[in-house]
Amino acid sequence: MTSGVDTETFAQIQEAVRRFTMERLIPAEREVEETDTVPAAIVQEMKDLGLFGLSIPQEFGGVGLSLSQEVAVIAEVAQAALAFRSVFGTNVGIGSQGIVIDGTDEQKAEWLPKLATGEATASFALTEPDAGSDAGGLRTRAVRDGDTYVINGAKRYITNSDSATILCLMARTDPDRKGAAGISAFIIPTDTPGITIGKPDKKMGQRGTRTCDITLADVRVPAANMIGGDALVNQGFKTAMKVLDRGRIHMSALAIGQSRRAINEALAYAADRKQFGQEIANFQLVQALLADSQAELYASECMANDAAARFDRGEAIPQQAACAKMFATEACGRIADRAVQIFGGAGYMVEYPVERIYRDVRLMRIYEGTTQIQQLIIAKQMLKRQAAGEKL
């Protein structure tokens, strides 16, 4: 049961984030797009505001939002270009939650306060060149040597790794067990000898975000850096999946934020643009585009809110999280596409934000589990139900 912060304080928090998004982030979108960088001054402001610590418990200096509250706040920030959220997204989501959920007391005390302020930043390193959707097939090896582990392998597309202080990295500790069972999670400071971070990837969208390859050659870390300590040896994949369940709801919130923005932009344009002597918003075919988008957004919001509320009540939500992530991100793709359509030729031009949104939101259907992988998760839960003789 996670109650987060009280309702009145939360209203102020949400308002503060909304205002910051409107006054500081949205006006800086063009600069981020042109320079492919989130300006250092804005990164600092996001740290000062407390965005890096949204999901870290208050006892460690974070804001300690419940997942329901995190959804509301992230949907506000995600009205702005997704690059801004990406800067602190790994600290709030996949980078820090492994430690929050399964870390030892010492690991929490050492890292969470710094992650909450943004003094330290974390990346989540699961994917490898030959292990994407099949993350359980990862090959990076961690071999115990006295009080240390020696790690060798390669990671791919790791968000924020070029600026991260630590990696929450999954590696195989038991080579005899194939698949997910032999994997452990480690906290690895990026200044450890043997780590090489590659050049940032060139991407379709989300300019201003960074992903890089990482190679690990004889990287030696204390055994105490295993998340959860010796008790959780070979349990790292479970940690990763807990992180991703929560992360999928976070991702739904991103999709909701971008969907709202795309709809706002399209609606304003349709109400203003005249063809055939009147505003195009008067045409029923344009209204149909708008209405479909609104209904899909509403469905996304309902799913994310319900899944988050269940999570906060302590329910296991693999199916709901997968449904929400799949639906909200796929819907967002359609909503962005309709927004471009409503803009006509202007929608294809870089000077209008819908062109960027169209490219930026494409990623959400791929990372943190592709749509197909979400389908597999949902179907697996359904088949379990069938096998157990349960009906809806």
């Binding site: 102020q12 928090i13 503060a16 910051f20 000062d48 407390g50 610590g53 949204l54 804001v63």
Partner: protein, 249 residues
């Protein structure tokens, strides 16, 4: 030195104001409310004075409906130390506000009262001046720059002709203008800490003030819609229109 900052809850500056159909005022039901932007600048200045070691305590005061507590919380989140809420109607007139502030000033003994130059709802631009007069204090209005001296302050004021710098002795009332500073965003951890800072609640009667109405609003109407422009053929036609249609020359 103790600093008092009155903060008013007003319709948010982003909201498109609508006039009530009966023309008695503007619509405030279900409308987003927030701190008067000039008051935010005043709070920011007070917090800067505290950070500079000049101010020792900042007290935020709001006079208005119960929800004005949220406005005080915003000030507390920005860095004020405690709050005073005087529960009253939303439309207390400037003179009554100034009288209540006087009673609070006499009780609290601040050396400086920092106010917004005006509230963006009624644009009265009176409270600071009235408070100074009631207290018999010097006043410095429309401040765009403030420099603290020993027992006084140099205040640069934005006046019609340019910038005027005056020196006022403390205690004093200071009203701030837009360009004095850029208010900070209250950080999320500070918003949570603000919850624990104390707010005293009192009534106008506790302060010995009866907020009687002295002014009567006859009607409130929307500004006239802007008419579309027109092209003129010649200078002569323009002059003719300015003279005979617009009647401005």
């Amino acid at each position: 030195m103790k600093v008092l900052v009155p903060v008013k809850r007003v319709v948010d500056y982003n909201v498109k104001i609508r006039v009530k159909p009966d023309q008695t005022g503007v619509e405030t039901a279900n409308v987003k409310m927030s701190m008067n932007p000039f008051d935010e600048i005043a709070v920011e200045q007070a917090v800067r004075l505290k950070e500079a070691g000049t101010a020792t305590e900042i007290v935020a005061v709001s006079i208005g409906p119960t929800q004005s507590q949220e406005t005080i919380r915003t000030a507390l989140a920005m860095g004020a130390d405690r709050g005073i809420l005087v529960e009253a109607d939303a439309d207390v007139e400037p003179l009554a506000i100034a009288k209540m502030l006087k009673a609070i000033v006499e009780k609290e003994g601040p050396e400086l009262v920092l106010l917004g130059k005006q509230a963006i709802d009624d644009d009265s631009n009176q409270t600071g001046q009235m408070l100074a007069a009631l207290m018999g204090w010097p006043q410095a209005t429309f401040a765009s720059k403030v420099e603290m001296k020993d027992g006084s302050m140099d205040v640069t004021r934005e006046v019609d002709g340019g910038l005027e710098t005056i020196n006022v002795k403390l205690p004093a009332a200071l009203t701030v203008d837009l360009r004095l500073n850029e208010p900070r965003y209250a950080s999320l951890p500070n918003i949570m800490k603000a919850k624990k800072k104390p707010i005293d609640t009192m009534s106008p009667a506790d302060l010995g003030v009866e907020p009687a109405k002295r002014l009567e609003v006859l009607k409130v109407v929307e500004p006239e819609k802007r008419q579309g422009g027109a092209k003129v053929e010649s200078v002569a036609e323009l002059v003719d229109k300015l003279k005979n249609e617009a009647k401005v020359i």
